[in-house]
């Protein structure tokens, strides 16, 4: 291979990485909201992503033929719809289980309930992924359509040989991811709801004295968090096959992104997820496919060991 070939491979991976990274970034934002507002590490986040994927898959299988949006756009619409659907699951789960070990109830437990939260969400993850095996089956499925196999050609960029192919489904997904993240960031910054969520995150006790229903704020934050990650899952579903166990590998990808960006920061989480996507795709140029995830895990370890406060976050972060 000559230098131009390398350049083309690199550009190709960079573009693919940015597109994948935008979807990872979206999922990371979901995870970081839960941590930012509730100070809870949600181990089951990958399983909520998986729920989003299967939501898109089953809706597509059942209603795909009647789609009024046209078959091409329907999967993306379903991915967005996975958000509210999984939001409801999250709110319900928070009320039934998570609430028992978080917030002021958690503060009464050992280590502010951190261990109880970790272990409880681990239990939720086990139930969801294995229950998923029962409900959804173990064979990999996908929500692929024509767009997943079509690409725009960009170029020639350098000379007349180097051009980059941009996958259409991934591009649309990445743009949607960006829109959702910006929309949510505006909701958090501008709206009354966002302010009450941030107040509950900043100082739960003071928020209670100011008349904010912190339990409700936590419930909403958990719902938003898992819902947003589920949208990311729905967008990924039109990209590659998946099965019920997929959550475990993505939970590390998400945490890698979130820790890279600094736990609790929306902007940081998105940039973190974006970087992880790029890292994953670019590393594939020199490493075998099976080691892509190992690279991410090792990067995650390096970041968490040497710079646990992350790179892109704002000042508000506590472990």
């Amino acid at each position: 291979m000559d230098a131009l070939q390398y350049l083309e491979n690199f550009l190709q991976s960079l573009v693919a990485g940015l597109l994948m990274g935008a979807m990872y970034g979206l999922m990371c934002v979901g995870l970081t909201i839960i941590f930012g507002v509730m100070r809870v590490i949600n181990f089951a986040q990958g399983e909520f992503m998986m729920l989003g994927m299967y939501f898109a898959y089953f809706c597509f299988a059942w209603f795909g033929t009647y789609a009024f949006f046209g078959g091409l756009w329907f999967p993306f619409f379903l991915a967005l719809l996975a958000g509210p659907a999984v939001f409801l699951v999250g709110v319900l789960l928070h009320r039934l289980l998570i609430n028992a070990v978080t917030g002021r109830r958690g503060n009464k437990l050992e280590a502010q309930g951190h261990y109880a939260q970790l272990v409880l969400t681990l239990g939720v993850a086990l139930v969801l992924q294995n229950g998923g095996l029962f409900l959804f089956g173990s064979s990999p499925v996908s929500v692929a359509n024509e767009l997943s196999y079509s690409a725009w050609e960009w170029g020639p960029v350098v000379g007349d040989r180097v051009s980059v192919f941009v996958n259409q489904a991934q591009t649309i997904s990445a743009l949607l991811a960006l829109v959702v993240v910006i929309g949510f960031a505006m909701l958090m910054n501008k709206s009354r709801l966002g302010k009450s969520l941030r107040a509950s995150a900043d100082n739960p006790d003071a928020a209670i004295y100011m008349g904010i229903n912190v339990d409700r704020a936590h419930r909403l934050a958990f719902g938003f968090g898992v819902g947003i990650t589920a949208i990311g899952g729905g967008l990924l579903a039109s990209n590659a096959p998946f099965q019920p166990y997929i959550g475990t590998e993505y939970v590390i990808i998400m945490y890698a992104g979130v820790v890279l960006g600094g736990l609790g920061s929306i902007r940081g989480a998105f940039l973190g997820g974006l970087s992880i996507g790029v890292l994953q795709q670019v590393s594939a140029i020199i490493l075998p496919n099976q080691l892509q995830n190992t690279v991410i895990f090792i990067c995650f370890l390096i970041i968490i060991l040497f710079r646990p406060q992350g790179f892109f976050g704002n000042k508000d972060r506590t472990a």
Partner: protein, 586 residues
């Protein structure tokens, strides 16, 4: 030792009953379950020995288990090595890999530690897949079955699994009743307080994870022999780490029998249901484990054993640890005395020390010296940098600039436990008791740093308790003390480490006048032992009578220094700190 002996009796009886049961059961499927259950019980004990006692949650024990399993399988496939040898190797490799994981990962605490631990087995999982070990089957050795642990009689496997379990139980019992157990409990209850009391927290955590990893490696190695096939997902997968954690937490965290109980309930339950419903419900095991751990967190957060105990003895506070006994209250307070030979010479010197947190200069070019045997008071308004100074002196934080020396030795690169061992002890502004340990055990932990034997530690602790006058509160848990008792207990814990210098942080805060008088008398007694005292305080009035000399801090810098009567009249001090209020009070 009697409690270890009692444990050993129980362990022996348990082994005997289990063996008899194994001989009575004829069904080969049940025999297989009876082989697997002890293996998982060992994994539960392995997790418990580290996470249960230290409080650092590991989601990564699959890493050590998987390395053990692959080591045994690959050694047999590639070099024909027999499992008797390779399981021992697996034990060593499990321990070594755990040590290597611990060294970098113990920089982290809480959430971050748990997350980091998750990444190790998953990274290994993909590496082993990439290496092409998707499925390693152990070859059958018909010529030498016993050498290769391929027995015809399934009871032989049970005997081996049981032997492994009994060994794990024995190790746990011995360790939990030793200084190891107490030190880890102290780390679990308050890592900072443990470190300041002279416990080398890093050392004990490394020991714990190494032994824990060794047990997991052995369990993994034996697992390979029993199942004959090793796949990355089966040994490095999330479920392996989760099972280890779930069995320990389900049965009872930080107990000897909890992990065994957890494995003995959950493994047969999930195996039997799996055998029955696997066709319709392939993930049923994972669902059972998930539901079990959710139920435990919601209804019995410390596990079944602790729940049963709280039902049998309602209202009783959950006490941990039990090494010390209150037999030695004849102890002589002079044990704690410091030689007076160097009195009046510089014992501690702070030279040009600065420390900033972001934009806040907490300590600014601070220089002063403490003379041996004196009682130095440090005063200053809120935010003057008093507690930061103590944190610098005992090594919790390191200065950006400057030099701190104690008896001519630099403290700059020393960890808090080393500084404690050199002779600087401290108390905390917000008291840090080990809540689930008795007052005596709290103080015994302080005594570890300069003692070898349990008896010696107990003697030093008793002397310290007697000096502060807490003889009658010895048995109370740290969580049930009044403010005054808490502060006396912290003082005793500091004294038990035989310090030359004690840093006392706002020990009079919130005490009523009588209690304050009592505290001043105790401090006077401490001073008579020849121990140098540096005390931070707000209450100027009480301090004026007590101290030899004052240092006044303002915005992290030295404002004034001198004898109490000079400081009281110093116009700068009155302006910056005392203000009108002091003049009115006077």
């Amino acid at each position: 030792m009697s409690s270890v002996r009692k444990d050993f009796l129980h362990i022996g009886l348990f082994g005997l009953v289990y063996m008899i049961l194994a001989l009575l059961v004829g069904n080969s499927y049940y025999l297989l379950i009876m082989t697997i259950v002890p293996v998982w019980a060992v994994m539960g004990l392995s997790w418990n020995l580290f996470s249960g006692y230290s409080g650092l949650v590991s989601f990564g024990h699959a890493a050590f288990f998987g390395l053990g399993a692959y080591l045994v399988a690959l050694c047999m496939v590639v070099w024909d090595l027999n499992p008797w040898l390779t399981i021992m190797l697996a034990t060593a490799v499990g321990g070594l890999s755990a040590l290597l994981v611990g060294i970098p990962t113990f920089r982290l605490r809480g959430h971050y530690f748990a997350l980091a631990m998750l990444a190790y087995p998953l990274a290994l999982l993909y590496i082993f897949e990439w290496l092409g070990y998707q499925e390693v089957a152990l070859p059958m050795k018909r010529e030498m079955p016993v050498l290769y642990m391929q027995f015809e009689n399934p009871v032989a496997y049970i005997a081996l699994a049981l032997a492994l379990l009994l060994a794990a139980l024995g190790i746990t019992s011995i360790l939990s009743h030793s200084r190891f157990g107490m030190s880890l409990l102290a780390i679990k209850l308050d890592e900072d307080a443990a470190e300041a009391a002279g416990i080398n927290t890093l050392y004990w955590k490394l020991i714990a994870i190494t032994i824990s990893g060794a047990l997991a490696g052995a369990a993994g190695g034996f697992y390979a022999v029993v199942l004959l096939v090793v796949t990355p997902l089966a040994v490095f997968g999330m479920l392996v780490s989760a099972q280890a954690l779930i069995f320990a937490m389900f049965g009872g965290v930080g107990t000897l029998w909890g992990p065994v109980l957890g494995a003995f309930i959950l493994v047969p339950l999930s195996e039997l249901l799996y055998a029955r419903y696997a066709a319709d419900f392939p993930g049923i095991q994972g669902v059972i484990y998930g539901v079990a751990i959710i139920a435990v967190i919601l209804f019995a957060p410390e596990g079944i054993l602790w729940k049963v105990r709280s039902i049998l003895k309602p209202g009783q506070f959950r006490m941990l640890g039990s090494t010390a006994s209150i037999t030695d209250l004849e102890a002589d307070e002079s044990l704690l005395a410091v030689s007076q030979s160097g009195a009046g010479e510089k014992i501690l010197e702070v030279a040009g020390v600065s420390k900033a947190f972001g934009g806040l200069q907490a300590t600014d070019q601070l220089s002063f010296a403490v003379k041996s045997g004196e009682l130095l008071g440090i005063i200053g308004p809120n935010g003057a940098g008093k507690t930061t100074l103590f944190n610098l002196l005992n090594g919790f934080i390191k200065p950006d600039k400057g030099e701190i020396t104690f008896q001519g030795q630099s403290l700059m690169k020393k960890r808090p436990n080393k500084i404690c061992a050199m002779g600087i002890a401290r108390t905390f502004q917000v008291a840090k008791p080990f809540t689930h340990l008795s007052v005596l055990d709290n103080v015994v932990i302080g005594a570890y740093v300069h003692t070898r034997s349990k008896e010696e530690a107990s003697r030093h602790a008793s002397a310290a308790i007697k000096l502060v006058g807490l003889e009658n509160q010895c048995d109370l848990p740290g969580a049930n003390l009044t403010n005054k008792e808490l502060r006396l207990m912290e003082l005793a814990r500091a004294l038990a480490s035989l310090p030359k210098l004690i840093l006392v942080d706002e020990i009079l805060a919130g005490l009523d006048p009588d209690a304050m008088q009592e505290m001043l008398l105790v401090l006077e007694k401490v001073r008579k032992l020849g121990i140098t005292i540096v005390i931070i305080e707000h209450s100027m009035q009480a301090m004026v009578k007590l101290v030899d000399r004052f240092i006044v801090l303002d915005h992290g810098a030295l404002l004034a220094e001198g004898r109490p009567e000079e400081i009281v009249k110093n116009p700068q001090v009155i302006e910056a700190y005392l203000g009108k209020k002091w003049l009115e009070n006077d």
